[in-house]
């Protein structure tokens, strides 16, 4: 187990290195950054002075080494636009993205698990069919479109909720629903199938024979064992949220890391893009790593070895 984790961590570092190198090359390829940083009427001496100051007059491999060293010590450079440290901008925006992801997951669990449970228990009934339609739709509706439609109905026509931006608690509702719908459907399906599996397991039948109350059987024994895959899945969902953060944050004008990167791209603010992509990828990769560890840890074999919970 230890070796597996170590191996995966090493892989994470390599992946991060790949991303960082990629963005570095990309920004160098899209033209002399000095031209973009200075006013167009700057003289050649001024441009050269800035190049020396930024270390851009050195050969590419040296620049790369300096860049990496800077990243390692936490110096991500300064934003071209605001002249403030990139890390400061990221620090302001990252919590917003994480908060949104968290709320989205909570919402999808809050919706997905109960519906999944009832759908499994009341298998074959009308409720089950409705739930399954809901789940299938969740895969098909593009989230950015759903977000726009929700804003239209609740933010524009009814005016009940803010049409965008992060303000009070009510501003979390529409983005959470948008994010949570897609993943809520997935959780519902997972819960349902896990529950069905578990409900058929021996110890549950045994518990039923013993005469325990149906509710107790369902909730206490079965759910406990079904939650493990759901929890693991939730981390995976967080990964999915993160992947779609750029789009969601754009739709809801959410001041998160995804939008910061997009704005940086639009204004060719490369330090922001480099730093932002690096942090974003690091979190994404870490979350992925957690998923893999959880999955291998909570192996089904281990689960069934502990009957009755």
């Amino acid at each position: 187990m230890q070796r597996y984790i170590l191996g995966r961590v090493a892989q994470l570092v390599v992946s991060l290195l790949v991303v960082v190198t990629f963005v570095f090359l990309l920004s160098r390829l899209s033209g002399d950054p000095v031209l973009l940083m200075l006013d167009v009427r700057a003289t050649e001496e001024e441009k050269q002075a800035l190049r020396v100051h930024l270390g851009l007059d050195k050969p590419l491999p040296v620049q790369y080494a300096v860049y990496l060293a800077g990243m390692a010590t936490g110096d991500f450079g300064r934003s071209v636009l605001s002249r403030r440290p990139v890390l400061e901008h990221i620090g302001e925006r990252l919590p917003n993205t994480l908060m949104l992801g968290g709320v989205g997951i909570l919402f999808s669990i809050a919706i997905g698990v109960p519906i999944g449970v009832y759908s499994a228990v009341k298998r074959g009934t009308a409720l089950d069919h409705v739930a399954r339609v809901f789940a299938v739709m969740g895969q098909a509706v593009p989230t950015f479109w759903l977000g726009i439609m929700l804003i239209l109905v609740f933010g524009v026509w009814l005016g009940w909720l803010p049409p965008g931006g992060k303000s009070g608690p009510e501003s979390f509702i529409l983005p959470a629903i948008t994010l949570g719908y897609f993943t809520g459907a997935a959780i519902m399906r997972l819960t349902r199938s896990s529950m069905l599996e578990v409900l058929g397991a021996e110890y549950v039948k045994f518990a039923r024979i013993k005469g325990l109350h149906e509710q107790v059987v369902v909730w206490k024994h079965a759910l406990k064992n079904a939650t493990i895959p759901v929890l693991t899945f939730s981390v995976m969902l967080f990964v999915i949220f993160l992947g779609g953060a750029v789009v969601t944050e754009t739709v809801f004008a959410w001041p998160g890391l995804g939008r910061l990167i997009l704005e940086g791209i639009n204004t060719r603010d490369y330090p922001i893009v480099q730093g932002g992509v690096m942090v974003f990828s690091a979190i994404y990769l870490l979350a992925n790593l957690m998923v893999d560890i959880l999955y291998s840890y909570f192996n089904p074999k281990i689960r069934y070895a502990r009957p009755g919970g």
């Binding site: 739709m137 479109w145 779609g244 990167i261």
Partner: protein
């Protein structure tokens, strides 16, 4: 009448019946929807009532035909530049399919090749290739695609290249797994004993057997790529204007959500139905083909 001539109608009838029984097995809803999408993409010129990018400015933001203010000339209304929405949706199927099929073809080719090699060769090659695939899988695809297309510019070519080159790991992993299990079969060992080269074995024996799995993955990936392309176009770094890409139409319609919500509404429904059909079809395909695979 000779026996052959007498048998011809029977043979044709038999062929038709076989085809019909295959068609009957298809899932009804998704097949019909998919057919509509494909027909729309292929016959857009014939089906679309208007030109997709030439609009009549004085006819801008007219509602759908059944709403007051709409007319039958524009069944689903017009957009901000007076272009017919229905025609744009129909041409949009072409864009979605063209981009997604090409990208999947690209990624599928690369991924399958890598998966076959990794699975067959094993050892160091396998480990190296799969590490690469893992790295690729763990990257945030949309974010990287946004960064790259923003820098290289929004165009069909760039979108396809970017998505295709980030998508291959999904194919590689799956195909590698298939290859590993097929490799264990006796006839593979026999072929090797008979002196057949690795390339021959992979191409003649292994590849045909991974095709069903490849089809399943491809179908689901096409749906995913349509969603990614839609997101990229929505953000303005995908298909450039004035092309009727659905994501782009939704982005343009977003500003008009007060007075003309249909401009963003209809393309979204079209996209949703397409994705739904593809996912359902892919699921059906997986259910159909997987049991067969287990028999191998």
């Amino acid at each position: 009448m000779s026996t052959v001539e007498a048998q011809r109608p029977v043979l044709v009838g038999h062929g038709l019946r076989k085809a019909w029984s295959l068609v009957r097995q298809l899932p009804p809803t998704s097949s019909i929807l998919l057919s509509l999408v494909i027909i729309g993409a292929v016959f857009a010129e014939q089906l679309a009532p208007h030109h997709p990018t030439e609009g009549e400015l004085r006819m801008r933001t007219r509602p759908a035909a059944w709403v007051e203010g709409g007319s039958t000339t524009h069944l689903l209304g017009t957009d901000d530049q007076g272009r017919d929405i229905l025609s744009r949706i129909i041409y949009g199927t072409r864009i979605s399919l063209a981009v997604s099929l090409t990208a999947v073809l690209l990624a599928g080719t690369i991924g399958t090749a890598i998966g076959l090699i990794a699975g067959y060769k094993g050892g160091f090659v396998d480990a190296l290739l799969m590490r690469l695939a893992d790295i690729g899988l763990s990257m945030p695809l949309i974010l990287i695609a946004v960064v790259v297309t923003a820098v290289t510019g929004a165009s069909f070519r760039n979108v396809i290249l970017v998505i295709g080159s980030l998508l291959w790991p999904r194919f590689a992993r799956q195909i590698r797994g298939e290859t590993l299990s097929i490799k264990e079969n006796d006839y593979i060992a026999l072929a090797r004993v008979a002196g057949r080269s690795g390339t021959y074995i992979v191409w003649r024996h292994i590849f045909p057997n991974v095709v069903p799995s490849l089809l399943v993955v491809s179908t689901l990936q096409v749906a995913y790529v349509i969603l990614v392309e839609g997101s990229l176009s929505f953000l303005g770094v995908g298909v450039p204007p004035p092309h009727p890409a659905w994501g782009l139409m939704i982005a343009e319609g977003r500003q008009l959500v007060w007075t003309a919500p249909w401009v963003a509404g209809f393309p979204g429904i079209a996209m949703g139905l397409t994705l739904l059909a593809m996912n359902m079809f892919g699921d059906w395909l997986r259910d159909k083909l997987d049991p067969k695979l287990r028999q191998v």
